[in-house]
């Protein structure tokens, strides 16, 4: 990963925090929110976009001839274009599909693919660091349709082992890989992998849930065929996810769910699917949520993804420095040591203190970190542990958060020593 130009204007975090009502609300009993990898906080503009929509122009989309319904449709489809452009979609109006979360986006693919593209014995290549969202859908496809799954292994530094990659990809139909690990933080060399996979005729799916919210994304540069991501981790509302896909592949893919809006015609004995993107959007879509996600994209773009990445890199470096200085050999930090290879995620363990207890004690100081398997149980087994504690960043985090983390960890250590 090359780091963005160092000349970018640094974020004014104290101004940014004012845009997030939750930090104002918790001002008294300070909230050190270090769990954005699970779900980010939302700026007021996102809530306002949704409230405005509900308060002035809500109506079901696509089918109404009256003006508020037309306007609702425009807002919804406008959000689609905005979100598609945000990840560099060549044809955002057609190739951007709204789902309920990244998990649905990947299930859409695994299910629709087994309705024609994939058959028993076909190989799907994953990695051992995948989130359950990019594992279980394929395990279901394996159980139901007998596809074969191969895994790219990890080395001790938290990188993918690529020595035998050509063998693994040999004969594969699909490569589905996370852009950033939600546990290790590892940013995978997806463009490189995509090239190798394409050379062998495989379709490449990127899980961008932890990447898109933090790093400028361009599906073309990354060489992806599909990209799944989720609204609530990128300052957007819950209840909305995205699947971007190459038009030709989306066209070839059978529908996922059936219902209103995804059809051109329905007869008692069959149906004809609708055009893209609606073919994959059955039923009333998350209209307000799409509009809210559009507002989140505006907010992110207004600040600038490169500045956000620079900010997070700086926080990462600061956190590494502080954690190592204070806890030395009693802390184990998982994943790459080179911050340039990581997203804004730090998973760690303390000898003799279980992550659950760490998180509990941190909570007493208002420090929010996640403890658990982070929906990556196979990775946990690889690491030989049941759980880690994880601190993660977004634009509203600052040195004070890291300092609070370090202070609270010292308390936990004292408590359990």
């Amino acid at each position: 990963m090359k780091s963005p130009a160092a000349t970018l204007k640094p974020l004014n975090v104290s101004e940014i925090r004012k845009d997030f009502p939750i930090f104002t609300h918790h001002e008294g009993h300070a909230l050190y929110f270090l769990d954005s990898a699970a779900s980010s906080q939302k700026p007021l503009s996102v809530m306002q976009a949704m409230d405005n929509y509900y308060s002035t122009t809500h109506a079901n989309v696509h089918r109404g001839v009256y003006h508020i319904a037309e306007h609702a449709t425009e807002l919804y489809e406008g959000a689609r274009v905005k979100v598609g452009r945000f990840v560099g979609a060549p044809d955002p109006a057609t190739e951007t599909i709204f789902t309920k979360n990244a998990t649905e986006s990947i299930n859409l693919l695994s299910t629709s693919m087994t309705r024609g593209m994939l058959k028993s014995g076909d190989v799907v290549v994953l990695t051992e660091m995948e989130h359950h969202a990019n594992l279980v859908p394929w395990l279901i496809a394996k159980e139901q349709f007998g596809i074969e799954i191969r895994y790219i292994k990890l080395n001790d530094s938290g990188y993918l082992i690529l020595d035998d990659i050509e063998e693994l990809l040999d004969g594969a139909k699909v490569l589905a890989v996370t852009l950033t690990s939600n546990v290790l933080g590892t940013i995978n060399p997806v463009a490189e992998l995509a090239k190798l996979a394409h050379d062998r005729g495989a379709i490449v799916i990127g899980d961008g849930a932890q990447f898109v919210p933090h790093i400028a994304t361009n599906v073309v540069d990354l060489g992806l065929d599909f990209l799944a991501f989720t609204g609530h981790k990128m300052l957007g509302p819950t209840g909305i996810g995205v699947l971007w896909g190459k038009k030709s592949l989306l066209d070839a893919l059978p529908p996922f769910m059936g219902g209103g809006d995804m059809i051109t015609d329905v007869r008692l004995d069959g149906f004809t699917p609708n055009e893209l993107p609606w073919k994959f959007e059955a039923g009333t879509p998350p209209i307000a949520e799409a509009i809210g996600l559009g507002a989140a994209v505006d907010y992110l773009e207004n600040i600038g993804m490169d500045r956000i990445r620079t900010h997070e890199l700086e926080l990462l470096s600061y956190a590494f420095e502080k954690l190592e200085a204070n806890f030395d050999s009693s802390i184990i930090i998982h994943g790459p040591r080179n911050v340039n290879d990581r997203g804004g995620v730090i998973s760690f363990d303390f000898k003799n203190i279980h992550p659950h207890d760490i998180s509990q004690i941190l909570d007493q100081s208002g420090v929010c970190v996640r403890a658990g398997h982070h929906c990556a149980k196979p990775l946990m087994r690889h690491l030989g542990i049941a759980a880690t504690a994880r601190a993660s960043f977004h634009i509203y985090n600052e040195h004070a958060d890291v300092d609070a983390l370090v202070g609270a960890l010292a308390k936990a250590q004292a408590f359990f020593s």
Binding site: H62, R63, V65, E70, R80, V81, T94, N274
Partner: protein, 156 residues
């Protein structure tokens, strides 16, 4: 808010109430294509009789609103007797006219705007007001898209 008179011009109401070239042709020899508007359920079938590289005759049947029916009727008059090259240009002009704004779905229409004189449009100009009612654009373009499909089916 644009007024009803922008949409329901007299020519439109006339073609709606007295549709031209309504009916069917046996197919073959006619080329036949069916169009759906998935938003409202309108259905339309276009039959064309070719002679050399010209549309010798055309018939249209189906159900639809005033905009979709009158647009089909206007189209039938506009293309009847025209060469395929002329029809192709009309198609482009019409699509361009209908994409002055984005369409119902907020997508920018794929077709590039092209240069044309109003004279080329003839009575079709009556449909110009439809672009102010984005949802209705699909009604106006249904017959043209179905014609295009018929021509493409023939080519393949």
């Amino acid at each position: 808010m644009p007024g009803l008179e922008d949409l329901y011009r007299e020519i439109i109401l006339d073609h709606y109430k007295n549709p031209r070239n309504e009916g069917t042709f046996p197919s073959p020899p006619a080329i036949k294509a069916e169009g759906h508007n998935p938003l409202c359920g309108d259905e339309l079938t276009v039959y064309i009789m070719l002679e050399g590289d010209a549309i010798k005759d055309i018939r249209i049947s189906g159900q639809g609103c005033s905009i979709s029916r009158s647009s089909a009727s206007l189209m039938s008059v506009a293309v009847k007797g025209k060469t395929l090259a002329e029809v192709d240009r009309l198609l482009k002009i019409f699509k361009s006219m209908m994409s002055i704004t984005t369409n119902a779905s907020g997508e920018p229409e794929a077709t590039e705007p092209i240069e044309y004189s109003e004279r080329e449009l003839g009575e079709l100009v009556a449909l110009q007001g439809v672009v102010k009612f984005p949802v209705r654009i699909k009604c106006a373009t249904l017959s043209w898209n179905t014609l295009l499909q018929a021509l493409e089916d023939r080519a393949s």
